[in-house]
């Protein structure tokens, strides 16, 4: 089949970007969206043009590298599917698709369809872990964890950190991402000791990064390729409230967001 791809082209944050339309013929319905871009890129290189930069790695929907808007929807029209697993059979011959990068001030632009999502790493740095150094662990079966508890934790832990939730949210909120980690660890007995502190610090970092607030719209969970449930945000708010009460005297340090790619060593 034949498609038209209208793609956001921008060399770097300092230059002006624009949409460019490329016809792609010979689209096989079995191809993934990214393979369709591969085919386009091969033809661009052969014509002496620069290929479209886009993020990808595992191409099986788990690494969270890929992701862009397809005609206004994060990861495109198929529910629970990243663009690397979105096959072209979901489109019709002659369709025009508009591809643009995640738009969020907290995800600084890099090139074409690529943005900088290091804000997510800094949110995890702010407490998205259990403080247990190697060698400190008791036997795996010492603390029983009921099946339902483990399953609920796993539902939240399935997040791949792709950023679609932020891109889809009219407020640019990262509440689903942050809530998923707070819920995953807070539900499990291993994460309990740091539950309050974790919520307070991670929420503070989320705000420092400039992500918007959650107003319970639910677009995030709608586009989430792992179908992270909205209830993780309720969990985040609850833990934050408790934490703000118990930890209110503590100074909360946040990490300054990086603004460029020049690494400074400590």
């Amino acid at each position: 089949m034949k498609l038209k791809l209208t793609i956001w082209r921008q060399k770097n944050p300092g230059t002006k970007g624009k949409f460019v339309t490329y016809p792609v013929n010979d689209v096989n319905p079995e191809m993934s969206m990214l393979e369709c871009l591969d085919v386009l890129n091969e033809s661009l290189i052969e014509r002496g043009e620069e290929p479209v930069a886009f993020e990808h790695d595992c191409r099986e929907g788990i690494c969270g590298s890929c992701g862009f808007m397809i005609s206004g929807v994060a990861h495109g029209p198929q529910p629970a599917t990243t663009v690397c697993q979105l096959t072209m059979r979901h489109f019709k011959d002659g369709d025009e698709l508009v591809l643009e990068p995640w738009r969020s001030a907290s995800f600084p632009f890099v090139k074409d369809l690529v943005v900088d999502r290091r804000a997510f790493d800094r949110i995890i740095q702010s407490g998205g872990y259990v403080s247990v150094s190697t060698g400190n662990a008791p036997d795996g079966n010492d603390i029983p964890v009921g099946k339902e508890i483990a399953d609920r934790a796993m539902d939240a832990a399935a997040c791949i950190g792709c950023g679609a939730c932020v891109a889809a949210c009219p407020n640019g909120s990262a509440a689903l991402f942050t809530g998923a980690k707070i819920a995953h660890l807070g539900i499990l007995p291993q994460g309990k000791p740091e539950q309050d502190r974790r919520a307070v610090r991670m929420v503070a970092q989320m705000h420092t990064e400039g992500f918007g607030s959650c107003t319970n719209i639910g677009e995030c969970t709608g586009v989430c390729p792992k179908e992270i449930p909205l209830e993780v945000i309720a969990r985040m708010n609850r833990d934050y409230l408790f934490g703000a009460w118990t930890e209110r005297s503590e100074v909360i340090n946040t990490i300054a967001p990086a603004t460029d790619w020049n690494f400074r060593e400590k």
């Binding site: 096989n28 079995e30 191809m31 393979e35 591969d38 091969e42 661009l44 052969e46 002496g48 620069e50 290929p51 993020e55 990808h56 790695d57 595992c58 191409r59 099986e60 929907g61 788990i62 690494c63 590298s65 198929q78 629970a80 599917t81 096959t87 059979r89 890099v110 997510f120 790493d121 995890i124 740095q125 702010s126 998205g128 872990y129 259990v130 247990v132 190697t134 060698g135 400190n136 662990a137 008791p138 036997d139 795996g140 079966n141 029983p144 964890v145 009921g146 099946k147 934790a153 832990a157 399935a158 791949i160 950190g161 995953h184 291993q190 790619w261 020049n262 690494f263 060593e265 400590k266």
Partner: protein, 641 residues
């Protein structure tokens, strides 16, 4: 050409059960206050790299960790599905450290080092404890205890899992531990940074040259030791289950700086992948081996049977694994399952449009256990299959075919995980040590974490305390030379300005290696492949077209450097496969098989590790041999009947 240097793995003497304890006691220690004076570089942030960085940071070392992705959480360990083995014997079904050790040595077809494997089995139990403590949501029984499943090559149930996303959850555990150390100031992360050269000074590994993939800037990083945890080289084949970015550049450049490359021809073909559908295809998708627990593999008895699977009656189906291997059935090791799939397809009994596929059928299990149970066990895998193929595996059998999945070969390391360059340590899939000629399922995660959490923290300390590396700076002539050479290498790729894209070269390389150094190999085919690869390399350096420049994000340039290395490594794989005149594990030479078509080892002549040394681009590599000794598991013809 055979080298004369003697390879000493440094295995502690005495009973194998005490070897690791003894080694740890004999190791020198670094005083806690002195640890912060040592800078360590860790390249790669997968299970091995992230667990090593986190643990070394916890100990107080000053760690710098590099990954080419935008975040360490994206490393390809994330895609491992099925599980992680541990000799916990929670199921009371006869498992033990010794049995896990035994299964792994046997599964590796007697081409791994016994002492390393024993240590791996010992560490396995600590890994599970550590991961549980980190909050990894392993599958649980209703009563709250950890659940297990079975995996290929074992008759006990020792695999721990988190749905079909075990690798993801283990990696996130290690990644979170790593980020905790970043927050504590112990680890500095360098994302989107790719190692392009190793700096060796006075025979010791002292630093790397890295390229910032966003700005294109090259930088030199000096340290007291360098740890490579950069994964395997399955992408030599172009189509593999590896991530698109997975590459061999770090280990290959280390090879060119003097590290030996061991057993490059030992590559693993995974039996259960979704078959290829077209020539645009960019990668292959694995369906976890755990599916073989409940799925039955079959093909029609008749050649060229074009009926739909549901129309083929039971007595016209050939459940060939159950028929040939009644003891292990569908759970034979990966190499055996893959070769048998190829054999039935070669006979013309393959299924699907291309005839390159076999059925993996869940109808019996669904009848026996109910659809709900199957959905709980494999739901996400079934969904993934349906997304890709548009077929519902609850109703029609899956079609699967083998694909390149893992590489057992890698840089040669001793018992301390140190390469032949002092101060250069290699962890996880990037080294060669634990899986012999075939890796058992659910063992890769185990090895990556064993190396990173429980081995390198001891051995790197021993190295620092005994070698006492002198102070060096980035202005050392060797560092400047490596920097300049890297710069020239990049300029050279951009200056070719030929006609062909990087991907077209990569595809061609992949086809040569898959055809002649894939599931089965012959001397004639390998010789031909070596010639073809040399010609391809020649053309690559004359006719490559890399658009753009080196001073911004240029994905074609990144790929070009990696493919240049894959081409050279592909040749070494064929040379190694040609030199090994036997069949063992994943290395199947058609000339060497038993009357039943099983791999025929030659222990008398080939019970050694083949470690290759670089001698310059125009010269053949030099072969060094590390003899393998089996004092505990007596080598026998593997039997899974």
């Amino acid at each position: 050409m055979t080298g004369t240097m003697k390879l000493d793995a440094g295995i502690p003497s005495g009973p194998i059960e005490q070897a690791w304890d003894k080694a740890r006691f004999d190791m020198k220690l670094v005083n806690p206050a002195n640890k912060r004076r040592h800078t360590l570089l860790v390249v790669g942030s997968g299970l091995a790299g992230a667990s090593a960085s986190a643990t070394l940071g916890e100990l107080g070392y000053n760690v710098k960790c590099f990954c080419f992705q935008d975040s360490p959480r994206r490393a390809h360990s994330i895609a491992a599905q099925g599980g992680i083995n541990a000799a916990k014997n929670y199921q009371n079904d006869g498992d033990s450290i010794y049995r896990l050790f035994y299964d792994t040595v046997k599964g590796g077809d007697f081409r791994s080092r016994e002492a390393n494997v024993y240590r791996l089995a010992q560490n396995s139990v600590h890994i599970i404890d550590q991961c549980v403590a980190q909050g990894v949501p392993f599958a649980r029984e209703y009563g709250g205890s950890l659940e297990n499943r079975s995996f290929g090559g074992a008759q006990v149930s020792r695999t721990f899992y988190a749905r079909g996303q075990t690798g993801q959850q283990l990696l996130l555990g290690a990644y979170q531990a790593l980020e905790r150390q970043v927050d504590a100031g112990q680890v500095t992360m360098f994302p989107r940074s790719e190692m392009l050269d190793l700096i060796v000074i006075d025979g010791q590994a002292r630093g790397i040259v890295a390229r910032n993939l966003i700005t294109g800037q090259l930088s030199v990083h000096m340290a007291d030791a360098v740890i490579l945890a950069t994964g395997g080289y399955g992408n030599v084949y172009y189509l593999s289950t590896n991530a698109k970015g997975s590459n061999a550049t770090a280990i290959w450049r280390a090879y060119k700086r003097g590290a030996l490359f061991a057993n490059p021809c030992f590559t693993q073909i995974h039996p259960t992948c979704i078959p290829v559908s077209g020539d645009y295809q960019s990668k292959l998708t694995l369906m976890s081996e755990s599916l073989r627990n409940d799925g039955r593999i079959w093909v029609p008895k008749k050649k060229g049977d074009k009926r739909r699977p549901n129309e083929i009656p039971e007595d016209e189906r050939d459940y060939y694994l159950e028929r040939k291997y009644p003891a292990f059935g569908n759970l034979v090791p990966r190499d055996v399952a893959s070769r048998n799939a190829k054999a039935v397809c070669d006979e013309g009994r393959g299924v699907g449009e291309t005839g390159l596929g076999v059925y993996l059928d869940f109808s019996d299990a669904i009848r026996r256990l109910g659809e709900q149970t199957i959905r709980e066990r494999y739901g996400n895998l079934f969904d993934m299959y349906q997304r890709i193929t548009d077929e519902d595996p609850y109703k029609v059998p899956m079609r699967i075919y083998p694909a390149i999945h893992y590489t057992m070969g890698g840089l040669w390391v001793d018992y301390q995980l140190q390469s032949t360059i002092p101060g250069l340590f290699v962890l996880g899939e990037a080294n060669f040590s634990d899986h012999g000629a075939n890796r058992l399922g659910a063992s890769a995660l185990m090895q990556g974490l064993s190396d990173g959490y429980f081995i390198i923290p001891y051995t790197v300390g021993n190295y620092l305390a005994s070698a006492k590396p002198a102070k060096v700076t980035g202005s050392h002539p060797e560092a400047l030379a490596a920097f300049a050479a890297t710069q020239q290498g990049i300029a050279k790729l951009l200056a070719i300005k030929g006609k062909r894209t990087v991907d077209s070269f990569h595809r061609e390389l992949g086809k040569i290696v898959w055809d002649d150094c894939g599931m089965s190999r012959t001397a004639a085919g390998l010789k031909e492949a070596i010639g073809k690869i040399r010609a391809l390399r020649e053309e690559f350096w004359q006719n490559l077209n890399v658009p753009g420049s080196s001073d911004d994000l240029n994905q074609s340039l990144e790929k070009a450097a990696r493919v240049a290395d894959f081409i050279e490594l592909g040749e070494l794989m064929c040379i190694d496969a040609l030199e090994r005149n036997e069949s063992c594990g994943g290395h199947f030479r058609e000339e060497y098989q038993t009357p039943e078509g099983e791999a025929q080892r030659d222990d008398q002549h080939y019970s050694y590790v083949a470690a290759w040394g670089y001698t310059g681009s125009a010269n053949p590599p030099e072969l060094y041999k590390e003899p393998l000794e089996f004092a505990y598991v007596h080598p026998s013809q593997r039997s899974y009947k």
